[in-house]
Structure formats: structure tokens, C-alpha cells
């Protein structure tokens, strides 16, 4: 038995039976991480493997010996570098937050730890979650465990890499426009972007606040259900969090596919840029649904054509706003030429932010400037309202919406890093989900001839997480 191959639920069973200890699990993961670091092309999924991870594991083991039966007691998880854990660094893959130690825990990490989970370490990401390859990290890129010359995707590439690469059973990422689903698809694992509001954003460093949502990575669908069951629900620190109880997701039964109505968005599945191999895998996935008694229809949702433009207008406007607070006055990096605070801001932000972040701040501020008198942003908001409405209507008639997660498979490191527009188009199929605030799970549904994973996203109506996960479970058990 290789501990590092076990799923979260399998580890839970073995911890509860006494077959394994939390300490043994954490040590196994540390050993895997250390061994990988010695290889020629290490994954570099972790920015930091917490030196005190074993201490938390020992505490969990002691608690269990004392009769503690919390649902995640002793189970390990990795966390993206933009989600706070009290007393740990939280740098968003950015130089500007170097030295910042979070004085409080995010609600999501707080709830996981309150349920007994043990944080292993923080994972690499594109700076401030802006990117699709993890290459825009001030710590350097992570690699794809499937093929180490490829990117793991981004921005939550580090989290995807450690889960797919056997260095953690489960990890948290964040999404603004596909930053969990894209790397999940590229690395061949599950990646869920929950409904906006399912998980609290408190303690999660903001990028595009009206789009941001914490996401989850795992190798088995049950694991996502188990974690969601303790993480979801109203949080007094986040006004936009939803009042809901997902405790039933701790145990997932496969869904009854028969009779389900499934929509395929014409604008994506018949698009020119779609890799033919991905199209073929997607078609096979559709066939599986048909074979199991679902009706699968292509529907036209014209507004989807506008989703990527709309997304960048809103996300970058909000990003420019959210990143204003990093000014070198209170925490993180400070560069002070000693000529007053204006010069301090310029020096700190010039040195602290990488080129992609600066590009997005500039675009976002341009969009919000009096040059447009706010019109561009307003137009973005009205297109978004239309996307929300049209997508909601689809779910009036259909149970699920299915489409590929990405038009391409994982791309080689360095191939798009100097072509921001090509990089932005990696999000072509994912941003509408964030704009529409619906949940979407990227499910590994096949491989290309070269052996590269292909994800298909199963999208549902708002707060249909349970339905999506159960459908994925039905797919998983049929393999």
C-alpha cells in the first residue's frame, strides 16, 4: 500500500480503523515531496511544506486516542498560497507580500482545521491568481506531473500538481475564471468550482470579488463531497456567503442518469478552436450519458460568445480595486526611496508586482477611469446580467450543462508566457460559469493519444453541487 495513492475517504477509513496514523500519512507525503525535489524536473507544487505539519498530525493522533471523532481528524490537505492560515505565510505567489504572515485563518481553512484536518503546506500559483499556467509566480513555475515539460495549468497549478502528483490527497484552490477547473483538466483530476456563495471568501485574498470562489481538488469525487460537507455554509464574515447545509455530501450515492436532460452549448462544442481529440473524448462522454438513459441536446446560448470579454472587463476592474491595498505601508514589501509616500507607493508596487499583475491593474484602472466614465464597466455588468439570466433559463429546462473544460490540453512551459492574449483564451470555456455564479466540476474523462488528460465540465444550476457530484460519482463507478 502506498499511502500517497490513497484518496481522502480511504485515508479516513484507515485512520478510523487504526490501520494508519495521521503522523504516518504526513510523513509519507513529506517523503514524497522531498524525493521529488531531488529529481531533475521537480513538480514545485509546494511553495512551502509546513515544517510543523507533523506536530498537527501528532495532535490529531493524540486526540483520536482520546476519543475524538471529528470528520476530518488527521486528514491532510494542501492550500493555495492566497488562502490564509493563522500564523502562516500567505503571499499569493507575489513578491509584494513577502514576509506577510496571516494573523487570522480564512473561514474555509478554519473550518477544515476545526474538523480536524492537518495542513501540509501552501501551493504555488500565478501571482494573485492571474494566469493559466502557474508561470506568473514569483517563485517560478510548477510542472505538470503527467508530463513535466508541460504546465499544470493555473492559476491553482500548484494545488493541482500536488494532488495529481501524489503529494497531497486533497487541496484547496481558488477560481475567478477557471483557475481550478483548468489545472484539474490539465492534470487529470477532479476540480470543483462551487456556486458563488457556497464557500466563504473571508480570508481568501481577493482578485475579482464578484467572481472569486474557493475550489477543491481531489483524485476521487467522494473526497470533494467530504470536504464540502464541513466547509460550506453561512459565514458571518462574508456577506455574500449562502446559508446552506451540505453535510449530506459526506456520503455520495451515484446519481440516476436515466431521464436526465443534458444541454451542450453549441457555441463551445462546435467551436473552431476545439482540439479534435478533445472533441472526440467529449463525444464519448456524451455517448455514455445517452447510453445511461439521459437525453443530450445541443442548445444555442449566443451570449456565451461575449463571456470572455465580459469576464476580463469585470475581473480586471475588480482586481485593480482589490490590489490597491498593497501599498507598502502596513505589511509585505516596502521600497522607500525616502522622498515621501507617493514615491514609496511607486517603488513598492513597481518592484512588488510582476508584469502580468501590472498589466491587469493597468487595464482594470483604464476600464474604470473617467475616460469611459464607468460606461465600459457598466456595460460589462449588464452583459453579465444577461449571461446569468440566459444560463438560469437553460437550467429551467435542463438538469446539467456539459462542455469541455478547455479547448486544448496542457501546453508546454514557456509556450504562452509572452502571449497574454493566447493565455487569456485558455479560459474560453470556463469564465461563463463564474459570471453566471453556477457550480461546475471538471471531471477527468479521457486522455489524448499522447496520454494527456482531458477534463469535461459538468455544470449545474446554482447550488446544484450535490447533483453534479452524484453524476460524477456515477461516471466514476462506471469506469
Amino acid at each position: 500500500m502506498n499511502i500517497c495513492d490513497l484518496s481522502l475517504v480511504e485515508l479516513k477509513t484507515k485512520l478510523e480503523s487504526g490501520e494508519l496514523t495521521s503522523l504516518a500519512i504526513v510523513q509519507a507525503y513529506r517523503a514524497a515531496w522531498e524525493a521529488d525535489n531531488l529529481t531533475e524536473k521537480p513538480l514545485k507544487g509546494y511553495i512551502e511544506f509546513y515544517p510543523d505539519a507533523e506536530d498537527a498530525a501528532r495532535e490529531a493522533d493524540a486526540a483520536r486516542a482520546g476519543g475524538d471523532r471529528r470528520p476530518l481528524l488527521g486528514l491532510p490537505f494542501a492550500v493555495k498560497d492566497n488562502i490564509s492560515i493563522k500564523g502562516k505565510s500567505c503571499t499569493c505567489g507575489s513578491n509584494i507580500l513577502s514576509g506577510y504572515i496571516a494573523p487570522y485563518s480564512a473561514t474555509v481553512t478554519g473550518r477544515l482545521m476545526a474538523a480536524g484536518a492537518v495542513p501540509l503546506g501552501r501551493t504555488n500559483m500565478d501571482e494573485f491568481a492571474m494566469g493559466s499556467s502557474t508561470e506568473y509566480s514569483s517563485y517560478g513555475p510548477s510542472r505538470n506531473p503527467v508530463d513535466r515539460n508541460l504546465t499544470p495549468g493555473g492559476s491553482s497549478g500548484g494545488s493541482a500538481a500536488v494532488v495529481a502528483g501524489g503529494q497531497a490527497p486533497f487541496a484547496l484552490g481558488t477560481e475567478t475564471g477557471g483557475s481550478v477547473r483548468l489545472p484539474a483538466s490539465y492534470c487529470g483530476i477532479y476540480g470543483l468550482k462551487p456556486t458563488y456563495g457556497t464557500l466563504s471568501r473571508s480570508g481568501v485574498v481577493a482578485f475579482g470579488s464578484s467572481l472569486d470562489q474557493v475550489g477543491l481538488f481531489s483524485r476521487k469525487v467522494d473526497d470533494i463531497g467530504l470536504a464540502l460537507s464541513v466547509m460550506a455554509g453561512k459565514d458571518a464574515h462574508d456577506d455574500t456567503s449562502a446559508d446552506l447545509d451540505l453535510s449530506s455530501l459526506a456520503h455520495l450515492e451515484p446519481a440516476q442518469i436515466k431521464g436526465m436532460k443534458i444541454a451542450l452549448p453549441k457555441q463551445f462544442v462546435e467551436a473552431k478552436g476545439l482540439d479534435p481529440e478533445i472533441a472526440a473524448i467529449f463525444e464519448k462522454a456524451c455517448a455514455w450519458f445517452r447510453e445511461n438513459g439521459a437525453s443530450v441536446e445541443t442548445v444555442s446560448i449566443p451570449v456565451l460568445e461575449a463571456s470572455i470579454g465580459c469576464y476580463y472587463v469585470i475581473a480586471l476592474s475588480e482586481a485593480a480595486s482589490n490590489l490597491s491595498r498593497f501599498d507598502g505601508i502596513r505589511y509585505g514589501l516596502r521600497k522607500d526611496p525616502g522622498q515621501g509616500y507617493d514615491e514609496l507607493y511607486v517603488a513598492t508596487r513597481s518592484d512588488g508586482f510582476g508584469p502580468e499583475v501590472k498589466r491587469r491593474i493597468v487595464i482594470g484602472n483604464y476600464v474604470l477611469s473617467t475616460h469611459f466614465s464607468g460606461e465600459c464597466y457598466k456595460k460589462g455588468m449588464s452583459v453579465r446580467a444577461r449571461i446569468q439570466k440566459d444560463i438560469a433559463e437553460v437550467f429551467g429546462s435542463y438538469d446539467l450543462l456539459l462542455c469541455p473544460t478547455s479547448p486544448t490540453v496542457a501546453f508546454p512551459l514557456g509556450s504562452k508566457v509572452d502571449d497574454p492574449l493566447a493565455m487569456y483564451l485558455s479560459d474560453l470555456y470556463t469564465t461563463f460559469v463564474n459570471l453566471a455564479r453556477i457550480p461546475s466540476l471538471s471531471v477527468p474523462m479521457g486522455e489524448t493519444k499522447a496520454g494527456l488528460p482531458v477534463g469535461v465540465q459538468i455544470c449545474g444550476a446554482q447550488f446544484a453541487e450535490e447533483k453534479i457530484l452524484k453524476v460524477a460519482k456515477a461516471w466514476e463507478v462506471s469506469r
Partner: protein, 510 residues
């Protein structure tokens, strides 16, 4: 300044006074923006205590420090205070509202933006009536319209202590403010000052703010320019915005200075108002000058964006009507009622209502007494003097309004004389004893018992046959002398009217 306005050279055109300055005629146009801190228990968007002062950076948390990942959650009490203030200033309060972000960089601003309300302010279209008359004159009211009131968080405080470093105290960061924006309805520095006084009085009355000017609880920005008429042609001078004034005197002085400066500048370079042009200024109290802080060249683009962390929200009818009910009686309404109900003079009414606690104290005393006017006299002539002299507040007194009521009634009922009442007042002020107890304790109750006084009259008459003889000779003035003897013998406690009547009656019977 060279303003040569004389009362006889001043005309009222459209409600705005026209002044003359040499060959120029001009009108003054002033609009105010008042920032006012509210007396909520917590800060606007976190649960930190909302209180002035404290050791620097002790009343802070991740939210009001704007730490990465922190999110604002609107205090319900904040919105309620905003709505109450809106109703108190005769505004419409919106049942649907939201927050926005206003961006600029300054070290005391923790997030690089301030959470405020941009295009959907909580309150709109209100007004106050300012009184242009002196306090002893009949009120001369002028309406000043309020364009909007919006909610906005306060920022930290920069402390420029000697040395190479500046320090920032974030205790004030996130303190709930309302910003009250007037229409440019004021036409003199006095009116601008009266506007702020009026707003302060109302908001203090309803308990929305402590209005403490020294602590910066209320700050006023004045936008001022002139309409200059030269040879029948009209010009508008560029608008100056004088920021952050925190006294009535500063508003008057700064606006007065600015009028002179704008006239001078107009004569010198003829610069006129153009849309969007505004000079931001500070008021240097020591020098008595306005100082330019920012011109159009350093224009700030605030890049407003919807605050995505706070969902737009609706205010229920129940919430709004509860807010409306909390306004209670406003100062002007109270003044009207005091005039009518108690028949008090304008001067007395103004004094009694200047402070809500005093007005309520008086009213309790008035209600406990049979003669409210007398109760007012006690409060105005005696009590306020004591408070001033000893520099204490109503709460420090050992007497309650009921004491004054009882004292007034003792006089009205003829139980004691007015002179005795003063002694009772002095004593109860020290001891806190009720007037009844003091009167009984000293045996100073006025004797109104006819048989007792008759006994004294008989005794006095029997001892003074000469006086009776004089009376019989027609010398009626002995009545006064005899009554005096009766009073003396009763140690002043006899009811003087009754004593006089009885003396006359007995003499007539003899």
C-alpha cells in the same frame, strides 16, 4: 477684504444678498458637505468598538486594517442611524441601496479605497430651516436644501510627530460616517456656519452623533464661489472647496477670507468658473488664510466601482418606519410646542431647548408643577446659573425635576412665600431633600389657618389700644402697621393677605 457692504446697500435678489465692492456687485454662493461620525456601538463593517481615542492601533481588526482576504459586513445599526438621520433632516430614505468603492492612495486609507455610496445614496432631497435672526428676535427662517446623505467609512489618522517618520493610528479606520451634501443655497459665511450649527443641533438631538467638534466628530467642507456683476455682465468665479473645517468660526472666517480672495483674484486675472474645475484648499487657522492643496492639474480619478463584497440590500417598511419613529421631536418642533404650550418667550424657549437633556428636564419639572412658567423661571433664573457657576451637568444635580415641581406648587398653593421658596431651593440643592420635607422640618409652612391668625390679630389689637383709637379717628394707615405686627408675631409665617384681611375685619367690628 475690501467689502463695503452696508445694510442700506444690500438688496435681496432671489433670496441672495447682493453686495458691492467698488465697481463690482457680487453674490456669494456656498454649498456644504458635512462629515459626521455616528454613535453606533461598533465600526461600520466590523465588530471593533466605535469609540474616540484609545492607544493607537488598539481598536483594530483584519477588516478595518484592510488585511488581505478580509471582508466588510455592514452593521445594521449603521444603516439604521443613517436612516434616522435622513428622516431627521426631512429626506426621503431609499428602500434599496448599495455600497461602492472610491479609490485613492493615502497612507491612512487601508484598502486603497474607501467604502462609500456613489449613485444610490441612502437619503435624498431633504432640508433644514436655518434661523437668520438673533436669538432674542422673532425667527427669520431660510430653507437650505440637502441633496443627499450617504454612508461612508472614516479613515485612519496620520500623526506627523517630529522626526523623520510619520505615524498612523487606524483606530478611526472604519468608523461609520454620514456625509451630508447641501445644495448651494447659502449666500453668506454666516449662513454656512448656521447650516452646520443646525445640522449639529438636530443630529445631536436625535442621538446620532456626539457632534464633538474638537475630536473631529463633525467636519465641514465648503464649496464657495461668487457671482460677480460688472457693468451688467455676469461672471462666476472658480469654485474653491475648503476642506475639513471643524468649528463654526473656521467656516465663517475661511469663507469670509475666500470671498475677499476670489474678488481680488477676479480683479487680477479674470479667471472664471469652468465645469469640473475646482481648487481644493485648507484653512490655516493661525495665519487666517486658505491654502491651496490641489488644483485641477492634480485631479483625482476615483474610479468608482460597485463594492462586490456587500450585496445590495432592501430596507423593509418595518425597518424604515422604526427609523422614522426614532427621530422623535426635533429642536424646531420642540421650540414651537414650548412657545404654545407653556407661553414662554422666544429667548426662554431657545435657552431651554439648546440642549435636549435640559429641555427634557425642564419639561418634566413643568409637568410636575401647577405653573409651567414658574417652573421655567426656576430653571432659567436659578438652575442654569448654578450649573454654570459650578461647571456641572444636570446629571450631577442632587435634585430632580420633581423637586422643582413640588417647590413651584408649594408657592402656588400658598404653603410658603416666594422668599421662603428661595431658601428651600438653596437647601434642597445641597441636601437633595424634597421641598415638603424641608418646609415641614423648619416649621416654615405658611400659616393660612384663619383661627390661628385671628388669635394673633386679637392679641396684637389688645396690646395696642392707641392704634385702635387712631383707626377710629379715621387713620386707616394703621392697618398696615398692625398687619406688620401680626406678621412679626407669626415669625413671618402668616399668610400676609389673610392677615391683612383679618386685621381690617376685626377693626371694622370694633
Amino acid at each position: 477684504m475690501s467689502d463695503s457692504t452696508k445694510s442700506n446697500g444690500m438688496n435681496s435678489v432671489g433670496g441672495r444678498a447682493v453686495h458691492t465692492d467698488g465697481d463690482l456687485e457680487y453674490e456669494v454662493i456656498i454649498g456644504c458637505e458635512i462629515h459626521c461620525e455616528l454613535l453606533t456601538r461598533t465600526k461600520a463593517f466590523c465588530s471593533c468598538e466605535n469609540r474616540y481615542g484609545g492607544l493607537p492601533n488598539t481598536r483594530v481588526c483584519p477588516v478595518c486594517l484592510g488585511l488581505p482576504g478580509s471582508m466588510p459586513v455592514v452593521s445594521r445599526e449603521y444603516v439604521e442611524f443613517g436612516a434616522v438621520a435622513g428622516y431627521a433632516l426631512d429626506c426621503s430614505v431609499s428602500s434599496f441601496t448599495k455600497f461602492d468603492r472610491k479609490h485613492y492612495f493615502y497612507p491612512d486609507l487601508v484598502k486603497g479605497y474607501q467604502i462609500t455610496q456613489y449613485d444610490l445614496p441612502l437619503c435624498t432631497d431633504g432640508h433644514v430651516m436655518i434661523n437668520l435672526a438673533q436669538s432674542n428676535e422673532t425667527p427669520r427662517l431660510k430653507k437650505v436644501r440637502i441633496e443627499r446623505i450617504h454612508l461612508e467609512e472614516d479613515v485612519g489618522k496620520s500623526l506627523h510627530i517630529e522626526g523623520a517618520h510619520s505615524y498612523i493610528d487606524y483606530n478611526r479606520s472604519g468608523v461609520p460616517l454620514i456625509e451630508i451634501v447641501s445644495k448651494p443655497d447659502m449666500s453668506s459665511p454666516e449662513e454656512a456656519s448656521l447650516f452646520m450649527q443646525n445640522i449639529r443641533e438636530i443630529l445631536r438631538y436625535i442621538g446620532a452623533t456626539d457632534g464633538n467638534l474638537e475630536e473631529g466628530s463633525m467636519r465641514c467642507d465648503a464649496n464657495i464661489n461668487l457671482k460677480v456683476i460688472e457693468n451688467g455682465k455676469e461672471f462666476r468665479t472658480p469654485i474653491s472647496e475648503i476642506k475639513n473645517m471643524n468649528s463654526f468660526k473656521a467656516i465663517r472666517d475661511a469663507c469670509t477670507y475666500e470671498i475677499g480672495r476670489q474678488l481680488r483674484e477676479f480683479r487680477e486675472d479674470r479667471q472664471v468658473f469652468s465645469q469640473g474645475f475646482k481648487v481644493t484648499m485648507g484653512w490655516d487657522e493661525a495665519k487666517g488664510e486658505t491654502i491651496v492643496q490641489r488644483t485641477k492639474n492634480s485631479f483625482i480619478d476615483y474610479r468608482f466601482v460597485v463594492e462586490p463584497d456587500i450585496k445590495p440590500f432592501t430596507l423593509s417598511d418595518t425597518f424604515l418606519s422604526a427609523a422614522r419613529a426614532k427621530v422623535g421631536e426635533r429642536p424646531a418642533e420642540k421650540r414651537d410646542r414650548f412657545r404654545k404650550d407653556y407661553g414662554l418667550s422666544d429667548f426662554d424657549v431657545n435657552t431651554l431647548t439648546a440642549d435636549r437633556a435640559l429641555a427634557e428636564w425642564f419639561e418634566d419639572a413643568a409637568k410636575a408643577s401647577k405653573d409651567p412658567k414658574k417652573a421655567a423661571n426656576w430653571v432659567l433664573a436659578e438652575l442654569l446659573g448654578i450649573l454654570n457657576e459650578r461647571n456641572i451637568g444636570l446629571a450631577d444635580l442632587r435634585i430632580t425635576p420633581a423637586h422643582i415641581g413640588e417647590l413651584v406648587n408649594a408657592v402656588v398653593d400658598g404653603a410658603i412665600t416666594s422668599r421662603q421658596a428661595k431658601d428651600v431651593f438653596t437647601e434642597m440643592l445641597e441636601s437633595g431633600d424634597r421641598p415638603g420635607a424641608i418646609i415641614a422640618g423648619h416649621g416654615m409652612a405658611q400659616v393660612s389657618d384663619t383661627s390661628v391668625i385671628e388669635g394673633i390679630v386679637d392679641a396684637v389689637l389688645s396690646e395696642n389700644p392707641a392704634a385702635i383709637a387712631d383707626f377710629k379717628k379715621g387713620k386707616t394707615n394703621v392697618v398696615g402697621w398692625i398687619t406688620g405686627q401680626v406678621m412679626k408675631r407669626s415669625k413671618g409665617q402668616a399668610n400676609p393677605n389673610l392677615a391683612s384681611t383679618l386685621v381690617q375685619k376685626k377693626l371694622a367690628e370694633l
